[in-house]
């Protein structure tokens, strides 16, 4: 370098392109053992789990679709999704999104990165994209792994939906894919919360734990008897509402609302994180976040977002009710019973009957007669009545229902023994699982549009 070149004025700062910074961020992320192990776990774990359950006699019946894991490979990715929604995805977002910014604080590399890349805006974009990429890889791993494990260990068979209907393998596959795509929305919301925590709290471990903590709080909230409007406004609702894809007709309302709310959260949290990031002072090595003001700046708009979504959704969701009414429960139980009855008929090698011929109805009541039959609880009791062609007498069977606040219910058969009182049925080829003994169902929480 000669004096002549040195004398010339330097060109103005030329920021590095987002694409290059993105690659730089990916290199850093993937070089971490933690991320490598997570990738491995996500791509292998569900397959091993699903395959192992496929060979065992006990089934994870407390997870949705768990009771069908012996019947079809498509139950595997759904059980994985149920588990992922409550545990794996919040933790993964914590580790990935929560750490992309905090890592630079821990290593004290902010100033280095800033000198190298020259643009905080681009650094933010690149980091958010790199975190998103890794997160998508992890989620894809969970979904694909669960499906592959199930298909290899159990096979490509029809799946029984939450209304008892048989879904052809192709249809089931499509719905599984859609369910995972819907679960991406709340994952993104958690990732946005992770970014925000990571930017606002820096090295403080609270920043890292924020998505997991928020997810836990949301889960607890979903277990409480909240009004439907509030339930739908929580960004994690889509972790549950994918259930609606497996009912007939599909409960798309809550699902779409859940996805939209989650995406709004993802956008809001990411924008806030960006705002905080660009205001930040990079010269102070002792800086572990933008301080209390930043926390307030991050929390207040989100509280406002929650308030607005509740305000918008509450009227549409039918006010302050739980959304679980006698009518809906009766219809859900009767529909599922009719579908599953046909399944049992086929198992027993009896002549097929149609749902129209069965004309199944359910009469459900909750608790003692003095209590209004409304809302979640494990004291629902249903008497199902059905008809058989050419037979005058009607059949009746009793179910005890445990209805969760989010609309999911488990119906437990209470007799008679040969219909739904025992977990096995005697078929010409030996004992087989009784589809009517216990089944999962789902009550749509929104007011039914078909009903005036």
């Amino acid at each position: 370098m000669t004096t002549a070149t040195a004398v010339a004025a330097a060109p103005a700062a030329r920021p590095v392109s987002v694409r290059r910074v993105y690659r730089f961020e990916l290199v850093k992320l993937v070089s971490q053992w933690r991320i490598r192990l997570l990738l491995l776990a996500c791509w292998l774990g569900p397959a091993l789990f699903v395959a192992a359950v496929g060979r065992q006699s006990t089934l994870p019946t407390d997870t949705l679709f768990g009771r069908w894991m012996h019947a079809t490979g498509w139950a595997g990715p759904l059980v994985t999704l149920g588990f992922a929604g409550s545990w794996a995805l919040p933790l993964l977002t914590s580790v990935v999104a929560g750490d992309v910014f905090a890592a630079e604080d821990r290593l004290g590399t902010w100033r280095h990165l800033l000198v190298a890349a020259r643009s905080p805006r681009r650094i933010f974009a690149a980091k958010a994209l790199a975190g998103l990429t890794v997160l998508l890889l992890l989620v894809a791993g969970l979904a694909v792994s669960g499906a592959v494990g199930g298909l290899l260990a159990v096979g490509n068979h029809p799946l029984v939906g939450l209304d008892g209907r048989l879904l052809a393998p192709g249809d089931a596959a499509l719905r599984v894919l859609l369910a995972w795509l819907c679960a991406l929305a709340p994952t993104l919301a958690l990732a946005g919360i992770g970014l925000l925590g990571s930017v606002a709290l820096g090295r403080n471990p609270m920043g890292l734990l924020l998505p997991a903590l928020v997810a836990l709080v949301m889960q607890l909230a979903q277990m409480m008897p909240l009004p439907v409007g509030v339930r739908l406004a929580l960004p994690g609702y889509a972790f549950l509402s994918w259930n609606g894809l497996f009912t007939g007709p599909a409960q798309l309302g809550p699902l779409l609302i859940g996805v939209a709310v989650a995406l709004a959260w993802a956008a809001a949290t990411t924008l806030l994180a960006r705002l905080l990031f660009l205001r930040r002072d990079f010269t102070n090595p002792a800086h572990d976040g933008s301080g209390r003001r930043a926390v307030a700046l991050g929390v207040l708009p989100l509280a406002a977002l929650l308030a607005v979504t509740v305000g918008v959704l509450a009227p549409a969701a039918g006010g302050a009710g739980s959304g679980i009414g006698q009518d809906k429960v009766q219809r859900s139980v009767a529909t599922a019973f009719a579908h599953l009855y046909r399944l049992q008929t086929a198992e027993l090698n009896r002549p097929d009957v149609t749902e129209e011929q069965l004309r199944a109805t359910a009469a459900c009541d909750k608790g003692s007669s003095s209590v209004e039959p409304e809302g979640p609880g494990n004291d629902w009791r249903c008497v199902v009545t059905w008809h058989l062609p050419g037979v005058d007498a009607t059949g009746t069977a009793v179910y005890q229902l445990d209805v969760a606040p989010d609309g999911r219910f488990v119906a437990d058969g209470d007799g008679p023994k040969e219909v739904n009182g025992y977990f096995l049925v005697r078929t010409p080829t030996g004992d087989a699982p009784n589809p009517l003994w216990q089944f999962d169902g789902n009550v749509g929480l929104l007011p039914d549009p078909s009903k005036g």
């Binding site: 370098m1 070149t5 004398v7 850093k28 070089s31 004290g108 100033r111 990079f282």
Partner: protein
């Protein structure tokens, strides 16, 4: 002369809340010169270097780097490299990967130096494929320097680069910096020890609590006549002590233990030696307790010598 300045800062003021980190600082760094920035901890060295790197913007004053005025926006002009408060390295990457990632960040055709070349210059070839998380502070400093060299800077900014360096590492670093300067790169480096910079710098700026207390060539600093502490070893310590006590302009500066330390300006010291010899006391050793530069530094920054020694 003007055109040869790599940095021209005047009246730079930077506050953090109530703390005035820099208070009307002027700084001129010649192209091809090695400029030392010295001052006790908290003097504002890191803050000033951060401004040069574009990590922060001054509250007041004007700053021109490589003949480009620095505006309100963050980010320095092209051609500036370096680090403040320790080099930024990613411990999960090897030394080579750290440099490769940086080179890729700048993209092909950005005129980056070869990775092997810079590793060799700082003497890290042997550990090029080791992960940086096992590196000592000295190795990290050298890798940080290599990262800066990668960009072929015309202004190199280093904050306390000699922290943690062993003598061999120091030799490497000094060699690199001298070569860069000879090639026309301006180097600004900071230290809280004057003796660090004596061997390396052509000019120094001494900062104390955000103000410049001296700026100029090292020779000028040393020439300023002031009282220094000297250690004297003689054949008869007790007699020497008596003679020193009776010499005008000489004060005994020790605590009365074995060695004799006196504080005196140079003429008075000369007189003391003459008197000692006249009294039949042989002078075996006479040396300043700290170097004249260090002493000037300590005096200018109001630090008692005893604390630093």
């Amino acid at each position: 002369m003007d055109t040869l300045l790599a940095v021209r800062a005047s009246g730079i003021t930077k506050c953090f809340g109530d703390v005035v980190a820099l208070d009307g600082v002027d700084l001129e760094v010649a192209q091809g010169g090695i400029h030392g920035l010295v001052g006790p901890n908290g003097a504002g060295k890191t803050t000033l270097l951060g401004l040069l790197l574009g990590l922060a913007v001054a509250d007041r004053g004007s700053l021109e780097i490589l003949r480009t005025p620095v505006g309100r926006a963050l980010a320095a002009p092209d051609g500036v490299a370096g680090f403040v408060d320790g080099p930024g390295l990613y411990p999960s990457l090897t030394a080579r990967q750290n440099l490769a990632a940086l080179a890729a960040l700048r993209g092909p055709g950005a005129g980056t130096a070869g990775i092997d070349e810079v590793l060799d210059q700082v003497g890290l070839t042997d550990v090029a494929d080791d992960r940086a998380n096992g590196f000592s502070l000295g190795m990290r400093q050298r890798l940080g320097l290599a990262a800066a060299l990668l960009t072929r800077p015309r202004l190199l900014v280093l904050d306390e680069p000699s922290n943690g360096l062993d003598p061999a590492g120091k030799r490497h670093v000094h060699g690199v910096l001298n070569r860069l300067a000879a090639e026309g790169t301006a180097v600004v480096l900071s230290s809280h020890r004057m003796d660090d910079l004596e061997a390396l710098c052509s000019e120094v700026t001494i900062l104390a609590t955000g103000r410049v207390v001296f700026s100029g060539p090292l020779g000028k600093l040393a020439a300023e006549n002031r009282e220094l502490d000297y250690r004297i070893v003689t054949s008869d310590p007790a007699a020497a002590r008596r003679v020193a006590a009776g010499t005008p302009g000489v004060r005994i500066a020790d605590d009365g233990a074995e060695r004799l330390v006196v504080r005196a300006p140079v003429p008075a010291l000369d007189e003391l030696v003459v008197r000692l010899v006249g009294a039949g006391v042989a002078v075996r050793e006479l040396a300043p307790v700290v170097s004249p530069l260090e002493a000037a530094f300590l005096a200018l920054t109001d630090q008692p010598q005893e604390d630093v020694r």
